[in-house]
């Protein structure tokens, strides 16, 4: 029973982290129609900035704020070369960017600890929260953040700002003709989404009390994509449901692992392959996902 409960806590923590991560993508892709295939890079940037600054003596709260600013700022900058061009270019630029961030994390050992990763940074309210309940505290922290992010985003997408974003997604030229600065809106959407990804990365680092480059494989980005598309693009509630379903799938199939006559490694790889297949099948047969509105699709 105890073990089951601990397992449920772990899964719910991960659901919360991926919900935050995917909410960020939903702003970019769902509402603004921007293809970001390098979302995981901002997770890495946020987490590494926080950890590295903290290990060099910066207090954790300040390190978190700087980390969020760096993640958001880099996100906004990244849109510069591609934002005026066709959507596909942004896809390529972001894929490349996220791979390069991962190479840097892997190779600049003096800064990032290389493949061995970094540990020993301070955790929020460490010492105040009893260690045996720390996971529960993290759970509360993450789901509190999810709730706040969800409410803020809901208000934001219903505001004039959100409507402009949607109009850009539907037809950029119309938005431009109505006097909206399209590039600025796109950049703001990217900034906001990257900040959320950065925060999710920090929470993942806090939960593991460790970071290493292997947390930032491209597959993480596509987990966020499957969450958003499965739940329904441009639907924040759908994104939360998608995150829950992803982890029900990922952890549920883990229980099957002892029954299936495959090594853990092979099984895990096939599970990730299934995520790719699911993405293709969804796009073919139900591109609006569970809660999405077919009329609101960019594709």
């Amino acid at each position: 029973m105890e073990a089951m409960l601990a397992y449920a806590v772990t899964v719910l923590i991960l659901v919360g982290i991926y919900a935050l991560f995917a909410l960020g993508l939903n702003i970019q892709w769902g509402f603004a129609g921007l293809i970001n295939f390098g979302h995981v890079a901002f997770m890495a940037i946020g987490a590494y900035t926080m950890v590295i600054l903290n290990l060099h003596g910066v207090p954790l709260s300040l390190a978190i704020l700087i980390g969020l600013a760096v993640a958001g700022g880099v996100g906004a900058l990244l849109t510069l070369p591609a934002i005026r061009l066709k959507a596909d270019y942004l896809a390529i630029v972001t894929v490349g960017f996220s791979e390069i961030i991962r190479y840097i994390a892997l190779n600049e050992r003096w800064l990032t600890g290389g493949a061995a990763g970094l540990r020993g940074f301070s955790l929020p309210l460490e010492g105040i929260v009893p260690a045996e309940h720390y996971d529960l505290f993290v759970l509360g922290l993450i789901w509190g953040s999810v709730l706040i992010a969800f409410i803020l985003l809901q208000r934001l997408v219903k505001s004039p700002w959100g409507r402009v974003l949607k109009s850009i997604r539907e037809d950029e030229d119309v938005a431009k003709v109505s006097g909206k600065n399209v590039s600025a809106y796109k950049m703001q959407a990217f900034l906001l989404g990257s900040i959320l990804a950065g925060f999710a990365g920090m929470m993942l680092a806090v939960y593991h009390s460790y970071i290493c480059p292997y947390y930032y494989y491209p597959i993480e980005t596509f987990y966020a994509w499957i969450v958003v598309i499965l739940g329904g693009s441009a639907n924040n509630l759908g994104t939360l449901i998608g995150a829950l379903l992803l982890w029900v799938f990922l952890s549920g199939t883990r229980f099957l692992s002892p029954i299936v006559p495959l090594s853990d490694f092979t099984f895990a790889a096939l599970r990730m392959a299934l995520v790719g297949v699911l993405l293709v099948v969804l796009m073919l047969y139900r591109p609006q996902g569970i809660l999405g509105n077919k009329k609101e699709l960019t594709f």
Binding site: G96, Y103, N107, I229, A273, G276, V280, P287
Partner: protein, 279 residues
């Protein structure tokens, strides 16, 4: 320099398929790198089976063409018939990339793989050339001449160029667009098969190297000008040489980042590339 030309040839071969897809179907096919990886492994397994480089190479090209045609029937044509936009195509291509990559990881395991051939080394003055390098460059040149012949001298090639320039016009002038697209996949993916096979000849393979291969190929496509196969060849060579030169002042892990930087610079200052039309 010579290693740059060798890898440039492989990048160019991969980039031709990519740029044809972009020209005719109007979307960035992000599964291309992972499919080249799959073909590299097919080449590896064929080579173990036949113990003959030429047989294995031909088998891989045929395998690549069949995979290309199969995906067209199962995925791309149904997507087009649904009226999917290019954005939807890009997302589907990434789903394919993820699926192909992880199936390959499941089969091949995470280790590095080699073809285990020992090339002969020729000494020409100060330059050392291995037989593998000669083979790669020769095969690439033959393949590119073949592409040139198809595109410029055959009816199919004319139809392909017409479809790439103006799809609607091509359709009304009686070109069977679906047939053109079939042949585009056969040609592009056959070349991708050859690229994967040649890549495996001179370096080690990893099942998760798809994006690592895709980035220089995309850089080549964009530098050369999107949709232009000759631009892709030239771009591929350029990217290969630039990446190789960067080894003088950067560790090899960042080779791909250099090609990527070249692409960003072209995107910012001359988005239509060297030989592309205005966009």
């Amino acid at each position: 320099m010579l290693t740059g030309v060798t890898s440039g040839c492989v990048i160019a071969l991969g980039a031709i398929g990519l740029t044809l897809t972009y020209g005719i179907l109007r979307f960035a096919n992000l599964s291309h790198g992972d499919l080249v990886t799959v073909f590299a492994y097919i080449g590896l397994w064929c080579h173990r089976l036949f113990h003959n480089v030429f047989l294995a190479g031909v088998a891989t090209i045929i395998g690549g063409s069949l995979v290309g045609l199969g995906l067209e029937k199962v995925v791309w044509r149904p997507m087009r018939e649904r009226g999917a936009s290019s954005v939807a195509m890009v997302i589907v291509s990434v789903g394919l990339a993820i699926a192909a990559r992880h199936v390959l990881i499941a089969i091949a395991g995470p280790r590095l793989h080699f073809y285990k051939i020992s090339p002969r080394i020729f000494q020409l003055g100060d330059v050392r050339i291995s037989s593998v390098q000669i083979l790669v460059v020769a095969a690439a040149v033959v393949a590119m001449l073949f592409v040139y012949y198809i595109l410029q001298r055959t009816k199919l090639g004319k139809a392909m160029r017409a479809t790439s320039d103006e799809p609607a016009l091509a359709k009304v002038s009686g070109i069977d667009v679906n047939r053109v697209i079939n042949w585009m996949w056969i040609m592009g993916m056959g070349l991708a098969g050859l690229a994967g096979f040649l890549y495996g000849l001179y370096t080690s393979l990893r099942p998760d190297m798809g994006f690592y291969l895709l980035l220089p190929m995309f850089a080549a496509v964009i530098v050369g000008g999107i949709g232009n196969p000759y631009g892709a060849m030239l771009g591929g060579l350029l990217i290969g040489i630039v990446q190789d030169m960067s080894l003088i002042f950067l560790p090899s892990q960042y080779k791909v980042a250099v090609g990527f930087a070249a692409m960003i610079i072209v995107l910012v200052f001359r988005p239509r590339g060297i030989m592309g039309r205005a966009i």
